[in-house]
Symmetry: C2
Subunit: 346 residues, 2 copies
């Protein structure tokens, strides 16, 4: 049957053609494409130019079969409904591309799947793996090290394991927000928790509640929204407002939850910051829209990406770098969803 459409038959490979046409050997062609190979620069020029005309580039599969470097970075994400991540994903990919890495993308839809997805990713022997907002089981994590690969966790922290981690300083963020509420006269704080297991969620709560208890007697309430989503934040807040003591300060584990909280407050006939102050976490684009004007703790995306890329570079250079956890401070962006006390000047 084999119709004519099977274009790739036997055309003596472009590389060989090229070699013949230029009167050199295939090795020379190869050397022309290896920046560090010894070759007369004129020869290289000649080869490279003609190759460009022909649209020839060395086959990366054949190449990595022998070099044992794939130039592949695998990014593993779980479901990214949070608008914070798409930007991170594209910018990270862009940066990695500039490093000469090609990105393979793996999404793990349900948490159970993550182990599976990791071994899938490992098949391509990536030079480096990056877990983006994905929680990876320690079983899967050890598979990675077994395979001799390195993994960088972006915005997830793996406790008790020696791994590369880049996160915003979530604990500090929680503290800063507690301070802000306290400094501005709030008394009855509540925390809306997103994905309970996520380390981001836990650290933010930890910083917030610990700082609060250091400075005040009241204890922050905590309500589980279950997910990082607008609707979840909305529902949690409705529940919160129906309680006996209405909170006057709500810290939501991320902006999506906080925006849900804002809507719930309005739905309840109240308003922020008049009746209740609301602060989120991330500083996604929507937070600054005038319809929301959300006070939030901004994640230092640029620095986080730079730090990640630096780690990747060091891994590429020498796998023996010791893993380190990097926590980068963000900054509180004050908008109108949280009240500011009238404090006398001077």
């Amino acid at each position: 049957m084999q119709s004519k459409s099977n274009a790739k038959k036997r055309e003596t490979t472009i590389a060989k053609q090229l070699a013949e046409e230029l009167g050199v050997s295939v090795s020379t062609i190869s050397r022309a494409f290896s920046p560090r190979a010894v070759i007369a620069s004129e020869t290289r020029e000649k080869v490279l130019q003609r190759a460009k005309e022909l649209g020839y580039q060395p086959n990366p599969f054949a190449r990595s079969l022998i070099t044992r470097k794939t130039n592949i970075a695998s990014i593993i994400v779980s479901d990214i409904t949070n608008p914070f991540y798409p930007e991170v994903l594209t910018r990270l990919t862009d940066s990695l591309q500039e490093l000469g890495l090609n990105v393979m993308l793996f999404v793990s839809t349900n948490a159970n799947d993550s182990d599976n997805i990791v071994s899938q990713a490992l098949r391509y022997q990536p030079d480096v793996l990056i877990a983006l907002a994905a929680t990876v089981s320690s079983k899967a994590a050890s598979k990675v090290t077994e395979a001799g690969a390195s993994m960088v966790y972006f915005n997830r922290y793996v406790p008790n394991e020696s791994v590369y981690t880049v996160t915003c300083d979530n604990y500090l963020g929680g503290q800063v927000i507690a301070d802000f509420f306290l400094d501005n006269g709030c008394r009855y704080p509540a925390f809306i928790s997103g994905l309970a297991d996520a380390t981001t969620n836990r650290e933010r709560w930890k910083g917030f509640s610990e700082r609060w208890l250091e400075r005040a007697v009241s204890e922050p309430r905590k309500v589980e929204a279950g997910r990082f989503a607008h609707e979840a934040g909305f529902n949690a807040t409705i529940k919160l407002l129906a309680g006996r003591v209405r909170p006057d300060a709500i810290f939501a584990a991320n902006d999506l939850l906080a925006l849900g909280a804002l809507d719930a407050v309005q739905k309840a006939g109240l308003s922020a910051p008049k009746n209740v102050s609301i602060i989120g976490f991330d500083d996604i684009a929507m937070a600054s829209w005038s319809s929301h004007s959300l006070t939030t703790y901004r994640q230092p995306v640029n620095k986080m990406i730079t730090a990640t890329v630096d780690i990747v570079k060091s891994i590429l250079a020498d796998k023996a770098q010791p893993p380190a956890a990097i926590h980068i401070p963000g900054e509180l962006v004050v908008r109108s969803s949280a009240k500011i006390a009238n404090m006398g000047r001077g």
Copy 2:
């Protein structure tokens, strides 16, 4: 220097080990992993099980070097600030994974780059390329065909070229929105245009303006926002409202623009739908939030993804499938940002 960290030295390859241990040849190992190869099922079982224990999987590079199938799908995206696309990206990736394809991700940051990015993608000889919300030059497009690969355009239309295209029926959407405005008594329509070159943008405007002119005498105004972004929609609307004749109906080329328009209307001391009706396009998650409650034309994401995956399947099965353009109708989701006329019943 070569420190000990260079874990991969010479361990006779797992495949050979396996073969020896099981007393079979490497070909048999290979056959066990080829679902359609002839091999005794017991032998296969035996191999597969032991392989699993050892964590062995065939090296995809070596494999595709000979099979000339890479099992790779390359997705090319441009900057995806529109929250519509992350979801598409992850779900598409997920579906492709289920098909046994691995996804390579390429982002083209500035438009000039797109040609470059395409040839980058082509190096890996993907079984199929998918352009996601990315405008690819026809030069780059022909490179793809030259390389014997197939490309599917998601939400972009390439005029005058025979390619695989899956889009929402943008023209129809524009018409439906014009009809809605007209049926509900609007008289002075305006269109907020996003990325002027994007085919989505153009088709929506075309459907909208043509239908309007069919049914009414007034001609829709059109203002260029330049990008698909909240701020751009905001600014465009401010300009629009400052004009001599204030529009009573605004169709924004996508939801992000429409949400910006909503904020601008409020900023101007007006309100939707009282003073002006606003309709967007996409139905992103935020559109349904009570703080926005945006009437919008919903893109049939599920169907669009399914259609794309179906095309990919057919390409995988036989490259000679004739290219086709698929335009899938969406549906108008009526919320409170656009007024509904009191029309008598019965």
